[in-house]
Amino acid sequence: MLLEIEKLSVQFKTESGNLLALRDVSFSLEAGEILGVVGESGSGKSVSNLALMGLLPDIAVINTKKVLFQNHPLDLNSQKQLSQLRGKSIAMIFQDPMTALNPSLTVGYQMLETLQTHLGLSKKAAKMKAISLLERVGILSAEQRLKVYPFELSGGMAQRVMIAMSISCNPKLLIADEPTTALDVTIQKQILDLLIDLQREKKMSMIFVSHDLALVKKYSQRIQVMYAGEIIETGPTDQVIKNPHHPYTFGLLKARPSAHAGKTKEHLYAIPGTVPSLRARPSGCQFHPRCNRSTEVCKKTNPSVSSLQPSPLQTSFSCHHPLESL
C-alpha cells in the first residue's frame, strides 16, 4: 500500500463561520495503481490533493485519523514533513500549464531548479537530465527549448514541460489535477497517453482528477465519485461505470452525450439544480434536493459514509435508495 488516508476532513475558517469542504474522506492507493476522482466543480476533488501536497491556504483546518505514506505516518499539518515529499515523492500536474509555470523564467531555469534542489545535481548534470526528460515527453530540439519562456510554448507543449518537471525526481505518486481540461481533444489524447506510458514505465501510482467521467473511465483502474465534499461511490472502474449504484453517479453517466453513440436532438438526462454551496449545506444526504429517489429518511440522516469500505475489489456507496444491480 502506497498511501492510506482515513477520515480526512478539511474546514475553511472564514468570517462567516467554518465551512466544511471535505468530510471524512477515506481512501487508499496501491503502488502502480491509477485512481480516478470525478466530481463537479465544488465537489472537493481538488481539496484532498492540495491537502496531501500541503498547498492549502492558511485558513484551512485539516483533521485526519490516520495517514500513511509508504507505511510511514504522515502529518498533513506539518509543512516540514510535506515539503520533503512535495516535488520529490509526490508530484502534481495542474490544470492550466500556462499559469503553473513562472512566466518570467525560462523553461530551463525552472527545470534545473527542481533537479538541483531535490537531486543535488551539478548545473551541468542537471542540464543533461533536463534535456533527456524533455526528450522523453516528446519535445523536439530539447536543448533549444530550455532557453524559451513559457509564453513561447503552445498549451500542449507547456503541459509536456510540466510533466517532464513532475517526473524529474521519479515520484512515487503523481497527482494529475484536470491535466488536459485546457487542451484540445487531439492534444488531450496525446498527453494522457504519454502520462499512462510514463506511469507504467516508472511504476508510479497516479491520482487522476477530472470532471469528465468518460476520460476517467478510459484511464483509471479504480474510480471515486465525489459530491459536496464526500465520497459517494467508489469501486473498480468497470463495475462503477457498468453498474452505478448512487443516483448521482448514474446521472453523471447519463448527462454526458457521446460522440460514438446515441441519437441527435434528443433530450439528455439532466440532474436538476446545482451543487450546494458550502454555506448552505442541505440536511441529511447532501444529494437529496437534486435526487429523484429521495424520501423522508434522506432529508433527515446522511447515509453513513462509514459503510464505505475502501476495499479495492468491491463497489461501495452511500445512499439510502441505491439503484439495483443489473
Binding site: E40, G155, V185, T186, L252, A255, A259, K265, I271
Partner: protein, 253 residues
Amino acid sequence: MNLLSVKNLNKSYVTKKLMGKNEERKVLSNVQFELGENKILGIVGESGCGKSTLAKVLTRLEDFQSGEITLCGQNLREIPQKNLTHLVQMVFQDPYQSLNPRKMAWEIIADPIMVVEKTPRPQAKIQALAMMAKVGLLPELSERYPHQFSGGQRQRIGIARALMLKPKILILDEPVSALDVSIQAQVLNLLLDLQKEFGLSMIFISHDLSVVKHISDETLVLYFGEVVEHGPSENVFKNPQHAYTKTLLESAP
C-alpha cells in the same frame, strides 16, 4: 429558401509592419455552407481553426475580405444594423465575462429591447421577466447581479438576452464548455426546447464533438480555416470521410 448562405468566404488578419510588407494570415478560406429554417448547424474544430472568427463575421463584428454572405435574401454587408440585430444574435462562451457586472439580471436581459427598440423601462422589465421564466430562471432572481448567479444560470441569462429581439438565427460560441456536465445537460435541453418554441435556427460552435453530435442536424468540421467535412450529423459521426475528422473522433473519450 435558406435563411443564411455563405459562399466562398475568405478572411485574413493583417498585421501592419512599420517596415517591409504587411503580414497576412489567412483564417478562413473558401468557407461555404447554408443554414435552413429550424435547423441547427454544428461547427467543430480545435483552437485556432477559425470557429470564433466565423461567428464574428456572421454577426458583423468583423469584416471579411471576399465572398458572399446572404441573410434572409439580403447581402449581409447591406443590412442596416438595426435590422441585423433582429436577425442574428449571439451567446458567448464565458458567462463570467459576457455579462455586465454592474447591471441587474433583468436589465441585462432587457438591454437589447431598450437600446434597439427604445422600449420604456417598465415594459422592458415585464418582457424581461417573461423571458426569464422561459429560460428557467425564477422571477425572484431578476434584481440580482451576475456574481450572485452560478455558471449555468448566467448562461441562461445570456441566452435570454439573445432571444429578446426574437432573432431568426442564434449563434452560440462554445455555450456549454465552461459548465459542468450536469449543468451542460440542462442547458442543452433548454436550447432544444427554445429552438422548437421560437422556431429558431442555430449555429452551435464547439470543440466538443459529443455535444455537437448531440444537438445539431448538420455538422461542419473546420481545420485551419477550411471546411474539411460537412454533412448530416449522423453521417459525419458514423462514417467520417476526412482524415482529420477521423482523428478527432478517435481522440474523443
